[in-house]
């Protein structure tokens, strides 16, 4: 067996196994780790195609930054316990996901069978390339000459995303309140007067999520406007936290 075939088989098996693990494992952290295995398999396949730079970037950016952030969020939110999927309140969502996945799979298999070798990238790989020029140089030339606008627009898009994220997370406009300064219990009123419009209802609909699930829509937007007492509670916990 030639080395290329062997490499492809091993790396492909890791990719497919990892992808299955992402879907099938119950624990979110195991899902994320399976994703890392898939990314590594793809990196090995890149190396087999002599795309060294892409392989390194694959590991640095995807495995090293993006999945780390996934894990970070999973750990911080504490959702790393195996969820009981049977009690998932959004049954319709599962059905839609399964249907959509099946359609996607069938579609890609159909395209692969119909178009044959044109979809596997074989034509691109057999195009004349100068092996003396490193792939970093080729990639750099392509990105900074022919595709410079696409590159710059992508950079702009990412910047907009970062600015948007910062704006979304920095909502509070008033000063933070130190509870110890208000021993008479007036901290909440001060906080409310400092934060006009901050008490738009949020996170109060969780209690009704199970009931919502019965009709399958899972729409949280309808039951805002709870009793005042509950509002006070949630706002107070926000002050103290």
């Amino acid at each position: 067996m030639r080395v290329e075939v062997f490499t492809f088989l091993v790396a492909g098996a890791i990719c497919v196994g990892g992808a299955l693990g992402v879907v099938l494992f119950r624990n979110p952290v195991h899902n994320a780790l399976s994703l890392v295995a898939t990314l590594f398999g793809v990196a090995v396949l890149f190396i087999a195609q002599e795309a060294y730079f892409l392989a390194a970037i694959q590991v640095i950016v995807y495995a090293g930054a993006i999945v780390i952030l996934f894990l970070f969020v999973i750990m911080l939110l504490g959702v790393d316990q195996a969820e009981a999927i049977e009690r998932d309140p959004f049954r319709l969502r599962r059905t839609i996901t399964v249907l959509g996945g099946a359609v996607l799979l069938a579609g890609s298999v159909a395209i692969l069978l119909a178009a044959g070798q044109r979809t596997t990238g074989r034509e691109a790989a057999t195009a004349p390339l100068d092996p003396a020029v490193p792939d970093v140089e080729r990639l750099g030339r392509a990105i900074f000459t022919d595709y410079v606008f696409a590159f710059e627009i992508t950079a702009l898009l990412l910047t907009v995303a970062v600015v948007g994220a910062v704006v979304l997370t920095r909502r509070s406009t008033g000063t933070p309140i130190d509870l110890e300064e208000f021993p008479d219990g007036s901290a909440y009123d001060v906080w409310v007067s400092d934060h006009p419009g901050a008490l738009v209802d949020e996170d109060t609909a969780d209690a009704d999520a199970d009931a919502d699930g019965e009709d399958g829509s899972g729409d949280d937007a309808t039951d805002t406007g709870d009793a005042d007492g509950q509002d006070d509670e949630s706002a107070d916990s926000e002050v103290t936290s």
């Binding site: 640095i60 090293g64 930054a65 000063t175």
Partner: protein, 405 residues
């Protein structure tokens, strides 16, 4: 590309590669053993203590004794841990630490424009286990894989202090990787290649990147590397006073030894990376009349390990001297100082390079870029000040003075 692998590959070639792997692994293990002893001894000296002095001459075998002790201890596994990930994590820490060392050129004649090719058993080869085209990116990739070891160790222990330690660690290591990468970019700009061999060859004849990049990327890299290694003063990951032992609190026996080994291995390999990137690796003055083995092995090895030793000393010196950073100070230093500094410096070096290529007046080019960098720095400073809420002090003072407002 290693000239060994460019032709037909037979048994001899495979054996040479195996030999290189075994020798470099053994050298690294012995190096780590000595490094642990050296660190304990030097810190002891700096603190007016004696340090290990029982096992072997000068306590040299203390690490070995500790290793044997750890090996024979009971291997505990917490009940609430995740069994598979708990066992996997130490290896995710250890393997990248070793793999980084494989791309470091440790010998070979780089003087007078030589490219470090040596003849080993009748075959031309390089004195590094591998010389991949992605070169230094491989180092960055491995250092990002190493984050998983720390992170998963903390999570899989199923206990709160390790989890806190690992969340700290992952945020810290991911943050400082950015500064690390940006200072490497300055070196790559001068070298024009990603391969470690090419980077060393380009520095031949005292054109060390240490001064060719005008010192700033070096300083940024050393600071970022210290943070990436989780060494003092950036060892918040295992801050004893707050987190017991950090991410490896629940580990014992040989698994703990693996983390310990990985930590010191990382220190050695990161010092080797610094030497390769900024101090010309095994490069140094070599008399042309000397016999081949002196030119190819003895002198370059001496230079390399001499430079390596300087950084090992510096890391221990940091540990003995500097108090630990607070977490917000750590993040401020990384995001608000090191990354902008590395980026601005990269811009200045790029303008120098473009001016050189296009035949512009370098002084004007650098002056214009420096002006841009200064404007950027002022903007950054004002935005940081706005975000930190300094202008809200008046409001707070009012509220405090008036009581209820």
């Amino acid at each position: 590309m290693d000239p060994l692998l460019s032709g037909e590959i037979g048994l001899t070639e495979v054996l040479i590669v195996l030999l290189k792997v075994v020798v470099s692994f053994a050298a690294l293990m012995v190096g780590v053993m000595l490094m642990v002893w050296f660190e304990r001894k030097l810190v002891a000296d700096m603190q007016n203590r004696i340090g290990p002095n029982r096992a072997g001459p000068f306590g040299l075998l203390q690490t070995l004794a500790d290793g044997i002790k750890l090996f024979f201890k009971e291997d505990l596994q917490p009940e609430r841990s995740d069994p598979f990930v708990f066992k996997l994590a130490p290896y995710l820490s250890l393997v990248p630490a070793f793999l980084v060392f494989t791309v470091i050129p440790i010998a070979g004649n780089f003087s007078d424009g030589n490219d470090g090719v040596v003849t080993l058993l009748g075959h031309e080869t390089l004195m590094q286990v591998a010389n991949p085209q992605m070169g230094i990116l491989f180092v960055l990739a491995m250092s990002s894989v190493a984050v998983y070891g720390v992170m998963l160790a903390g999570w899989s222990s199923g206990s709160k202090y390790p989890l806190l330690g690992s969340v700290r660690a992952s945020a810290q290591m991911v943050s400082y990787e950015a500064a690390l990468g940006l200072s490497v970019a300055s070196v790559l700009l001068l070298a024009g290649t990603l391969t470690t061999n090419g980077i060393v060859a380009e520095q031949s004849g005292w054109r060390w990147n240490l001064w060719m990049t005008l010192l700033v990327p070096f300083v940024v890299f050393v600071i970022a590397a210290t943070a990436e290694l989780n060494r003092p003063p950036f060892d918040l990951v295992e801050a004893e006073q707050e987190l017991v032992g950090g991410f490896h609190t629940e580990y014992s026996s040989i698994r703990f030894a693996l983390f310990f080994l990985a930590e010191f291995m990382n220190t050695v390999t990161m010092s080797a990376v610094i030497v390769t990137l900024f101090l010309g690796g095994p490069e140094g003055p070599i008399p042309s009349g000397a016999p081949g083995w002196v030119q190819d092995y003895l002198l370059p090895l001496t230079y390399f390990f001499g430079k390596l030793f300087i950084f090992l000393f510096v890391f221990v010196w940091f540990r003995a001297t500097l108090p630990r950073f607070r977490y917000d100070q750590l993040m401020d230093l990384g995001w608000k100082f090191l990354i902008p500094l590395a980026l601005g410096w990269f811009l200045i070096l790029t303008s120098l390079k473009v001016a050189e290529d296009q035949g512009w007046n370098p002084v004007v080019a650098v002056a214009v870029t420096a002006a841009v960098v200064v404007v950027g720095a002022v903007l950054l400073r004002s935005s940081i000040r706005a975000a930190s809420g300094d202008d809200l002090d008046d409001v707070t003072a009012d509220v405090a003075a008036g009581g209820e407002s």
